[in-house]
């Protein structure tokens, strides 16, 4: 999805830059196209690595969420601490038919999201989490 966004936004941008520079000098135009292509390629690779880095695991008492290729993050959210579970989808996500599941605890710094799920899976995950949360709910 991010790759698609990258291409949709990136190719016209490189094209426009190259077109502007063409009036000035053809060499600069070629360089711009080359640099733009490399940038897009590395963006493609980085997004791929980032996509591979997302993961979650449902353990007996807590949910493990990990993401980030460059800046790695691993979050442990106990089921008993979950206040609410959201299923969300932004406009671009809706275009691609994926949703994200968000977990909230009483702490604002808890950043536990599971991205890019198929809606049916997301709803199933939410219901499982909610059931587990109710079973293990603990006061503050």
């Amino acid at each position: 999805m991010r790759r698609a966004v990258l291409l949709v936004l990136g190719i016209p941008f490189v094209g426009a830059a190259a077109a502007l520079l063409y009036n000035w000098s053809a060499v600069a135009c070629d360089v711009a196209i080359g640099v733009g292509f490399l940038a897009l390629l590395s963006g493609w690779v980085i997004i791929g690595r980032n996509w591979h880095s997302w993961g979650y695991a449902e353990r007996a008492d807590d949910l493990l969420v990990t993401h980030g290729a460059m800046f790695k993050k691993l979050v442990v959210v106990p089921y008993g601490r979950m206040q609410l579970v959201d299923v969300e989808a932004g406009p671009v996500e809706r275009l691609f038919g994926v949703v994200k599941v968000k977990l909230h605890t009483a702490a604002a710094t808890t950043d536990a999201r599971v991205l890019g799920l198929v809606p049916e899976d997301a709803v199933a995950l939410r219901d499982r989490l909610r059931a587990l949360g109710e079973a293990r709910a603990a006061g503050l």
Binding site: D62, K72, V76, A107, T109, T110, A138, L140
Partner: protein, 483 residues
């Protein structure tokens, strides 16, 4: 300190109404404005009586007076509506308050979810003998429930009743007896606020414009415009600082910490007074902080995270101790978390962390025991954070590219919103993972244990009187040691 020993209020099923003077208390601030304006206007006219611009000044006064008058009427009306429409009472373990004229709303709070109960008296309400009762629940500011205004004695009795029921002692309890732990004397509070203020940020705020002007003048001769801007910025900075000091000193004035069976009781305030009661097990995390200039005096301050303390007044609400001898501050922290904080062994990050945090890696520290997790950091200003295992919400671990190249990672324990952030930074990556798993496991066990409410923790004994009396010489005084 409790002045009026009122009968425990009869709450069950009975609906109560607000105090008849509520509208006046509502309009208090506007009335103050009007008074200030009238006085100022009087001074102004007596000064400029012979001026030619008398009529236009008179017109301006008329406009302002009418605006203020309209504001007064509006706030009085608001207060009257609140008085006429608000009802509160207890119902099946819930405190309920209904209000609103056109849009009726009914707020309820389950007493076993109560985080803290505050009795607040703004200046006007204080003059009238009224008070606002604020019940905090975990959540946003909107989720906290305010009963304003009721008679002061009634507010106190209501607080005792609610806290008693919340702790499961049952209805009809009198105000729990309390014994004061410490009172901060005005002199030491002022000193503490000023010393706490001296930091790089404030120096930059004040000295920055001055330096810039001096540099500009030195390099290219006198420059009136730049000088003007610089002076303007300097005055603005000064104004911000003065406002901050005023706010801090008036809200933290006569700061008293007392202990009672239903929790810690904090009283403070010069013009508007506030009495907070926070049950021990509602304090989510604590930190003991020594700003740079506190250290020569051996002072420390303590702040806390309490769920439901969010919004405008949070920077004052979360102060547990504005200044005290370090030994006392440590004792208080230990008393709240139930473990002697100083006894928890703390380890440094590995030596290679100096490539990530050149100077301050040495000051970082992390440790834990069966009850709490402790971190400390800071080279010049030092602080120690402590969080009981059963209070941690979630745990996470982060590592950026540079840290990962060095094999380092940081572990964060997420607490509720507040000033305390618990971070064990620059740990060895494997150790960080072990800490993460250990904390998750310990928090799980602690939650399981906490299902059966434990008796109040017995902290370490209060450090002997020497520590307190040394500060009494320096201005701060303990109002008597505790058993």
């Amino acid at each position: 300190m409790s002045s009026v020993a009122e009968q425990p209020p009869d709450l069950e099923g009975v609906t109560h109404r607000l105090h008849p003077l509520t509208p006046v208390a509502y309009a208090g601030r506007v009335i103050g404005l009007v008074l200030a304006f009238v006085i100022l206007g009087h001074l102004d006219t007596s000064n400029s009586s012979g001026q030619a611009s008398g009529t236009s000044a008179g017109q301006a006064t008329l406009v302002t007076v009418s605006i203020l008058g309209a504001l007064t009427v509006i706030t009085l009306l608001r207060g009257t509506v609140a008085l006429m429409t608000t009802q509160y009472g207890l119902e099946a373990g819930e405190f309920r308050i209904d209000s609103g004229l056109l849009q009726r709303q009914s707020k309820r709070v389950r007493l076993d979810r109560l985080q803290s109960v505050d009795v607040i008296q703004p200046l006007t309400a204080r003059v009238l003998g009224l008070a606002e009762l604020r019940l905090s629940t975990a959540g946003t500011e909107r989720a906290s429930l305010r009963v304003r205004y009721i008679a002061y004695g009634h507010a106190q009795a209501l607080r005792a009743e609610l806290l008693g029921r919340s702790a499961g002692i049952g209805p009809g309890v009198a105000e729990a007896p309390e014994h004061p732990l410490i009172t901060i004397q005005p002199g030491s509070l002022l000193a503490a606020v000023l010393l706490e203020l001296v930091s790089w940020r404030v120096l930059l705020l004040l000295a920055g414009p001055a330096l810039a002007v001096a540099a500009a003048n030195a390099s290219s001769g006198p420059h009136p415009a730049a000088t003007g801007v610089g002076i303007g910025l300097f005055v603005y900075g000064l104004f911000i600082v003065a406002h901050f000091i005023w706010r801090r000193v008036t809200t933290l004035w006569d700061f008293t910490v007392a202990e009672s069976p239903d929790g810690l009781r904090i009283r403070r305030g010069l013009l508007a007074t506030s009495a907070q009661t926070v049950p021990f097990d509602r304090i989510q995390a604590l930190y003991l902080h020594q700003p740079m200039l506190f250290r020569p005096f051996g002072w420390a301050l303590v702040r806390m995270n309490v769920a439901g303390y969010v919004g405008r007044e949070v920077s004052e609400q979360t102060v547990l101790l504005p200044v005290a001898p370090r030994a006392f501050a440590e004792w208080l922290v230990s008393r709240v978390v139930g473990v002697d904080v100083a006894q928890v062994a703390v380890t440094r990050p590995p030596r290679r962390a100096r490539f990530r945090a050149p100077l301050w890696w040495r000051a970082e520290g992390t440790g834990s025991d069966e009850g709490i997790f402790v971190t400390r950091h800071g080279v010049f200003s030092r602080s120690i954070e402590a969080v009981p295992h059963q209070r941690t919400q979630s745990v996470h671990m982060t590592a950026g590219p540079w840290s990962r190249a060095l094999g380092l990672a940081s572990v964060h324990l997420d607490s509720t919103r507040g000033p305390v952030k618990i971070r064990a930074r620059f740990r060895d990556a494997h150790e960080a993972r072990r800490i993460l798993d250990l904390q998750a496991e310990r928090a799980r066990q602690a939650r399981r244990r906490a299902s059966a409410p434990a008796p109040l923790p017995n902290g370490a004994p209060l450090p002997d009187g020497t520590a307190l009396s040394t500060v009494a010489d320096g201005g701060a005084g303990g109002t008597g040691p505790t058993p």
